[in-house]
Structure formats: structure tokens, C-alpha cells
């Protein structure tokens, strides 16, 4: 864009050849004998029939038992003999993407930490060390020492400190440089990592430095373990009670029962069974298309691809660390992560939550100006330019998926240096200003584009107008999902994938007892753990 040159060109120039890079590559391609034209290969993105041969592998016997023992017991090492493992960051990898604010603000899929890298300590070890989350600890290995903020992480192995790499850079750029506590930037974990121990080192000593450092997480926005102890217990107990309702799961045996219906598995609210079927008034009906989504929890692995895709597609602003600590992250799609069971060896459950597009949307009733209304196709439309920002809809949304622009998150564009970043915006989506509410729209810009395209006559010929075939419209999150956990489509077409998933016996509505009639439905996960890996005393699946 700025007339730079690529590595290939630079190397070629050093060799005295100033052919442009694309020609060099094309030439190499032609010489490689891969067949076909370079242009075609570039278009397809791959060259057919060049994959590696399929290999046959077999699991070695008995390995599982050993793994189980380690996971459950851990090393139980004492301070001074702790293990430190170096983990690539899920956001900045080894630090190379540190200057990308989208990634910096994407919450890590397990820790939900943004803008910083941390040292993960298991709850037991943390208790033994007297360390709690947000304490800055000094990790010493030999003569090397690192001050880094600790995060008590359920599921981290006992006696092992997981140090996440990728922070503390000083020349990454305006975003990625190590900054003040309120801005983030993390800690330089390479102070501890030598070529002698690239993946892990042992013999570490951990001590508290006495200072604290605010971590910005998008879940448990503050440390629930601090303060009044009953409060933490109440919250934790409640989460454990709610979980089977929110994230429904079954095991192979449960699923084998032909009468299994995820809808009926967990009556958290006692009237769940008979909360349906009666209405005081005549409800609205939808004659035409009915857009809907299905999210298969069995496929979702919490990789965050959908979160970033949504951010890119929908002009979702990056708000910065301080705003995240104030619970003001703007991401329209969040992946809730919960721990279940023993905190030292928990099961992790995740759930992507965006606007559910309820047919009886509680947010709509309360808007005084009609800024959020239902479309004739069942979308819960949000009109940014009508919004006066009472935030009542946010308060009344049981799923808490609405996001408010508390300050002008696009103020940086007043600065000419950021001009080029305007190119990041999707021109088909409004860039929201401060004071308005926003939320997932089911990528309505894509829906509208497809609808117009389907109705427009073909470039020539006498106006062919076709229906929108199932799969023509993909939402950004769906397109990015590597496991196809998200399916979007039209419920009025009984053959569409989404219709079939909505009829699946694994489907259930999130908080269905409220009778909001969400258009997004979840499919219960079928857990099928290896019995040898399942921890002792915890049967695989527990319903």
C-alpha cells in the first residue's frame, strides 16, 4: 500500500534481479511443474492433488492412564521447585501480533484476559503460595527473574506456572508497546525463557512483590474470590446450579435414549415444563422468510474466530483495557466460559452468546422511541440513528448481549495519523457514535444484499428473479467458524439446514422459560470422554 517491497523482492534484488515479486512467484510456479496456470492456482488458493498421503496411526496403549495421573495429581512441587511452562498467547502468539488491537482485545478463550499476558497458577498452588489474582509475582529461575501478574486459573496443573508469552514488547507499535497498567501491554516473559528451556523450565521460585496489577477480563470482571466470602460462595454455587440449564450436555448413553430432548433436561425454573403454549394475546405471525440461527455446542471449541470475524464485519470498536475493566467491551458476540466441578481439575464449558433475536424480545417493549423493533422477517432490528441511549433495552435483555457506546470509541479518527485505519470499516455497516446502543444484527447487511441481488434481474435477459438458496447468506461468524458450529438460514424453508437443526432433539432455547422465543437455538453437546481419561470418581457425563 505504501509502495513497500516484499522479502522475495528484497532477496531477488540482492541477487541482482529486480523482477516484481508476483512475477517471480509465477515463474517459480511454472518451473515447479505443479500443472495448471499460476493465475488459476492463485484463484483457487490451492493446487489440486498435491496433498500429502494419508497416514495410518494407532494410539499407543496405556498412555491415557499416565496422563490422567498427572492431570489429577500434578507434581505437587514445593515453592523453589516449581515448573514454569511457556505458552504462546492466544491473542498475540509469541508477541508478533502485539500491535493488533483486535487481537489484543479478543479475550483469551480460557482466561478471558485481554490486553495483557499473565502467569497462570492453579488454585491450590496459589493458596499455598499465598498469591491471588492480580498480585504481581516474581518468578525466579536460577539467576533470571520475571515480575508478572498472576491469575489463579482453574485447571492449571498444580505446581506448574503457565507463563504466557507475547507481552511486554517495547517496539511493537502504538498499540502493542508495554504501557501503563491502565493501557495494558503485558510483561516480557522472554526474560525467563532461554534456549535451554524453550517449552518449560523447572526449579522456579515464586514470591509476591506486594504490588497489584489490574487485569482486564471480559468475564468475572473483578475477582469474585475477594471480599465477603459468602458472596463468592453464593455466586459460585449459583453458577454451578445454572450451568446445566445454560449449557446443556448429555453423554453417549443419554443421547442413545430415543426420547432424549435437550429442551427437557434441566428444570432450573420449576415451571419450565408448563411455561409454554399459552399467551394472553394473539401473537404476531411471520408469513415470509424467518431468519434464524443454530449453534451446535458439540462443534464449538471456543476458538474466538467468530468473535474476531464479527468485529471485522460489523465495525465493532476496540475499547481499550480501561474500558474492559469497566465491563464496557463492545464485542457483539461473546463466548461464555464456565468451569464445572473441582476447581483444580474442572471441566470447561463454553457457549457463544450473541443477540438471540427473540420473537418476544423484551428489549423492544421498553424502548421509548422505537429504536429497536421487529422486522417482518423476524429480525430484532436495531436502528442506531434512532437510539437516544436510555439503555433500558440493555437492562431488560436477559442474555445481556446489547452493547452501549459509553464514549466515542472512534475519536481516534479525528487524528490524521489514523486515517488509513478508516479502511478497516465495512462501508455497508453504520459506524456507531457515542450514546447509541448496538448489538448483533444477524449480519443484516448481508441479508439485504442477498435479497436485493436475488430480486435484481440478471445482467442481461428479462429479469430472472430467484429465491435465496439455503447457504447463500452466511453471517460473518458462521463464515469464520472452522467447525461449522454456527448455521444461519431461513426457517420458512423446511429443507434449510437451520430448520432441520431447529427440529433436532438436541436443540434448546437459552433461558427458554422466559418465553422470549429466541430465533437462535443451541444444540446440546454430547460429551463422550474416554473412560480411561475421566478422572476417578467423576463418571463420564453426569445427568
Amino acid at each position: 500500500m505504501y509502495g513497500g517491497i516484499s522479502i522475495i523482492e528484497l532477496l531477488a534484488m540482492l541477487l541482482g534481479d529486480d523482477t516484481p515479486a508476483d512475477e517471480l512467484v509465477a515463474k517459480t510456479y511454472a518451473e515447479s511443474g505443479a500443472g495448471g496456470t499460476w493465475r488459476a492456482a492463485l484463484h483457487d488458493g490451492f493446487v489440486d492433488r498435491t496433498q500429502l498421503p494419508r497416514a495410518a496411526v494407532q494410539a499407543g496403549g496405556g498412555g491415557g492412564a499416565a496422563l490422567t495421573a498427572t492431570a489429577a495429581g500434578g507434581s505437587g512441587a514445593q515453592n523453589g521447585n516449581l515448573e514454569v511452562t511457556f505458552l504462546p498467547s492466544s491473542q498475540t502468539y509469541d508477541g508478533r501480533f502485539a500491535n493488533n488491537p483486535w487481537l489484543q482485545e479478543t479475550p483469551d478463550f480460557l482466561t478471558k484476559v485481554t490486553w495483557d499476558n499473565v502467569a497462570l497458577i492453579s488454585p491450590d498452588t496459589a493458596d499455598a503460595l499465598g498469591v491471588s489474582s492480580q498480585d504481581v509475582v516474581r518468578i525466579k529461575v536460577g539467576d533470571r527473574a520475571l515480575d508478572i501478574v498472576a491469575l489463579v486459573m482453574p485447571g492449571q496443573a498444580r505446581g506448574s506456572i503457565g507463563v504466557i508469552l507475547g507481552g511486554g514488547r517495547t517496539r511493537a507499535g502504538r498499540v502493542g508497546n508495554k504501557q501503563r497498567e491502565w493501557v495494558g501491554g503485558g510483561f516480557d516473559a522472554y526474560k525467563l525463557r532461554t534456549s535451554a528451556g524453550l517449552d518449560f523450565v523447572t526449579g522456579a521460585t515464586v514470591s509476591r512483590t506486594g504490588t497489584r496489577y489490574k487485569i482486564a477480563t471480559t468475564q468475572e470482571h473483578h475477582d469474585i474470590r475477594r471480599g465477603f466470602s459468602i458472596s463468592a460462595t453464593i455466586g459460585d454455587k449459583e453458577i454451578q446450579k445454572k450451568l446445566p440449564d445454560l449449557v446443556r450436555e448429555t453423554d453417549r448413553a443419554g443421547f442413545a435414549d430415543v426420547a432424549y430432548k435437550a429442551e427437557k433436561t434441566h428444570p432450573y425454573y420449576h415451571d419450565h415444563e408448563h411455561g409454554r403454549g399459552y399467551s394472553l394475546y394473539k401473537e404476531q405471525t411471520y408469513d415470509g422468510r424467518r431468519w434464524a440461527m443454530a449453534i451446535d455446542l458439540g462443534n464449538c471449541m471456543g476458538c474466538n474466530a467468530c468473535v474476531v470475524a464479527c468485529q471485522a464485519e460489523n465495525n465493532v470498536p476496540v475499547v481499550g483495557k480501561r474500558e474492559v475493566t469497566r465491563n464496557r467491551e463492545m464485542s457483539w458476540l461473546r463466548i461464555d466460559r464456565y468451569f464445572r466441578g473441582d476447581l483444580n481439575d474442572p471441566e470447561v464449558v463454553g457457549q457463544p452468546v450473541a443477540c438471540q433475536h427473540c420473537e418476544n424480545a423484551p428489549c423492544e417493549t421498553v424502548c421509548p422511541v422505537g429504536a429497536t423493533l421487529h422486522s417482518s422477517e423476524g429480525l430484532n432490528d436495531m436502528v442506531y440513528n434512532r437510539c437516544v441511549g436510555t439503555r433500558y433495552c440493555l437492562n431488560n435483555c436477559p442474555y445481556r448481549v446489547r452493547r452501549f457506546n459509553f464514549v466515542d470509541y472512534h475519536q481516534e479518527f479525528n487524528d490524521a495519523r489514523n486515517n488509513v485505519r478508516k479502511l478497516l470499516f465495512n462501508p455497508d455497516v453504520t459506524v456507531r457514535e457515542r450514546g447509541v446502543m448496538e448489538k448483533c444484527t444477524y449480519c443484516v447487511q448481508r441479508i439485504q444484499a442477498a435479497k436485493i441481488k436475488a430480486k435484481n434481474p440478471a445482467p442481461h435477459g428479462a429479469g430472472e428473479r430467484g429465491p435465496i438458496a439455503d447457504g447463500t447468506i452466511t453471517t460473518a461468524c458462521q463464515a469464520a467458524c472452522p467447525t461449522e458450529a454456527i448455521v444461519f438460514g431461513d426457517l420458512s424453508d423446511p429443507e434449510s439446514r437451520v430448520s432441520k437443526l431447529h427440529g433436532d432433539r438436541r436443540q434448546y432455547e437459552l433461558l427458554g422459560e422466559l418465553n422470549d422465543k429466541p430465533r437462535t437455538r443451541f444444540l446440546a453437546r454430547v460429551r463422550n470422554p474416554n473412560p480411561e481419561l475421566a478422572p476417578a470418581g467423576k463418571p463420564a457425563g453426569h445427568h
Binding site: 453464593i234 449459583e238 421509548p368 422511541v369 439503555r391 431488560n396
Partner: protein, 455 residues
Amino acid sequence: MASPSEAAAGSDGEAQAVFRGITDDVSRVALNPTPKWWWPAFGVSNLMLLCLVVSLYHLFTTGIGVWGNNNIQGWAWDITNFVFWIGIGHAGTLISAVLYLFRQDWRTSINRSAEAMTIFAVAAAGIFPIIHTGRPWFAWWMIPHPNDMGMWPQFRSPLMWDVFAISTYATTSILFWYMGMVPDLATLRDRAKERWKQVGYGLLALGWRGSARQWHRYERAYLILAALSTPLVLSVHSVVSFDFATSQNPGWHTTIFPPYFVAGAIFSGFAMVATLLVPLRHLCGLKHIIKESHIEAMCKIMIATGLMVGGAYGIEIFIAWYSGNAGEWFTFRNRVLGEYSWAYFAMVSCNVLVPQFFWIRKCRTNPWIVVGLCILINVGMWFERFVIIATSLARQAMPGMWGYFSPTRWDVLTFIGSFGLFFTLFLLFARFLPVIAMAEVKAVSPEAHAGKDHH
């Protein structure tokens, strides 16, 4: 006719002296040179008002983000302050209208200042629904008017009900207050010595001359306004409570809210009236008009409403448990035992325990104790709204979006500023307008029947 009036009626000149005494004492407050205590008080109020101006400027130029509100607690101090002030703004109309309908003659000593307080509290409350919006410059979209968007307001929203309820209430309160004040403004007109006051009060008094034919219609209109204000005052806080009661959130979605809010409003309103009047009667030398018995009566009402509010707290919890609704029950357990339990216990102790001191006579008669307890009650009532709004929102149905609210300095400044607005207006009122309804006090005094034949 009661016997004291007969005694008073014995001498006609005495009756006139009594009336003149009332006129003198009340007019003196408005017409005499500014008392020494007024300027420092006004200065402090103005400083607080300045806080409001500064924080509003910062708010309008930066956004709601200057406050601690977030995507979990969309409302926090802003709406807490709004409900707090609107609650306080209930006592005035209640004293004026309801007690008038019940023929509680003692109200005449306090109704004028209580009404004034109502209006100023409604003014302080009224700014919050507007400034709490993200784009206050578009708040006028809530007023139904033809426009080039072809859009109308959405009347199912309780916020629209609020718009109508509060504007009706503000209008009614102001008209009621002003109408009641006209004869007294005429008194000030006729006694003012400076030309600007003569003209000013003269214009405000509309040429009132106490004609019997005019008194006749005036009294009838006053009665009608009282009759209209009584259901209105009950409806306003009910409508405010609908903001919460008609929502879907556990902790908000409660049928008990309308009566509970109204009781709380009367409770806090009387506490505020007492807080203001106890010093006022000392400072303005009105002890013989605003008598100790009036303060005591207000204290007794506070015991009653405090118990009602306490009962509501108990019933809320009972119903949450009895409903068997797991989410509801959790919200209430969390309220009492969760991370906001400090706010809950502040609320209960201030609202339920504190008024119990009023059973003791000394606590009702000692001005320091009365003011102290009343301030505590208002603190408690603020916490009640905070508990309902912020703590209910903190832990709703999705544990993935649980959070904790921390106010910023701008939250505090805005709140202080709203007090500044209230006190500034009240001090201006206490300085320039008749703080006591002279005509009404005269009308209910035993001397009003002097010289009548007994048939």
C-alpha cells in the same frame, strides 16, 4: 363551633391582631433585608450547583462513560438519583392534596414549603432522565410530534409513561403551588417597600384582591386540584416503579413495587421536609407557626411509612422464596448476602431501624435528633434505589455477564450537583416567596370565625 374560637371571638380587635401577626411574621422573611445566614448557605449551594454544571459539561462532551455505568449495569447512580429525587418530590403534593382532602388543618403551616420542595425535587429528578440518555440532544423524540421521519414514540415503553407522568406531575405541582401562593403574593405586594418588589409581586399576584366571588371559585378550584393531585401523586411513583416492575429482570419484576415505591416516596419526602423545615423554623423565626406538633406529626408518619417499607422488604424476600422461581430467589439471596450486602444492610438499618427512634418522644422533639435521623432515612432511601437498580443488574440470568459497579468521581459530582440545584432553588424560595401559606393559616385559625353570629 369549637370553644377556643368562641373565646377568641370575644374581642374583635384581637382577631385582627392575630392575622396581622401572621402576616408580619411571614412577610418579614421575604421583605426584610437578607439575613446573615442566607448568604453562606446560598454560597455553598451555588458551589454545589457549579458541580452540576461542570459535571454536565463533561458528561455532554464526553459521554455516559464518565459515569461508572457499563454493559451490565446500564443504569446505576443516574436512575438511582432520579428515583430518589422523585420520591422526595412526593411529600409536598401529598401534604397539600391528601391532607387537604382529609381536612388535616395542621398541614397549612408546612404545605407551602413542602410544595416548593416538591417542585425543586422534581426539577432535580427531571434532569436525570434527560441527561442519562446517551444522546440527550435527541431526548425530544420522546415527545409525540409530527416529524419528517414519520416516527412516533413507542407508548408501550414505561419510559414513555414516565415522560407523561413526570411532566404532568411537574405541571400540576407548579400550578398547584403557584395558585396557592397568589393570595400570599398579594400580601407581599401590598407590604413591599421597594418598587421592584411591588411591581414583581404585583405581577405575580395577578391583581388578587380577595373578593368573595373570587375566593369562591378559587376554593373550588383548589379542592379540584387537590382531588386531582391525590391520584396523580400515587400514580407518579407507581409509574416510576413500572420502569422496573414491567421489566423481565429478577429483582425488578415485582408486583409489590407500586405501593412499595409510593410508601417509600412518602417516607423519604417527609424526611426531607423535616430536614428542611426544622432549621427553617429556627432561622426564620417561625416556630409559633410551624409548631413542634407539626414536626412530631411528620415523625409519626415516618414511623408508619418506615414500617410499610420494612414490611415490603420482608414480603419481597418471602415472595422470592415462595414463588419457587430460582432466578428470583437467587437475586434476593444475592442482594442480602452477596457482594452488595453492605448496601442492603445500609438500606435496612436506615429505613427500618432508624425511624423506630421516633417512638421516643425526645427524638421527635429535639431538632438535632430529628434532622439527624431524617438525613439517615434519606441515605437509606437512596440506598434502597441503589439496591434495586444496581445490585439487581449485577447478577442477572447469564453468569457470563456478571459484574460489579464502581462509581466514578463524576457520579458523585453529579449527585452533589443535584443537591446544589435543589438547595439553591429552595434558598431562593425561602428568601423571596411566602414560605407559609398565610391565607390558609389565617383561614384555619380560630380567629377566622370571630364575630360570627351563632345560629
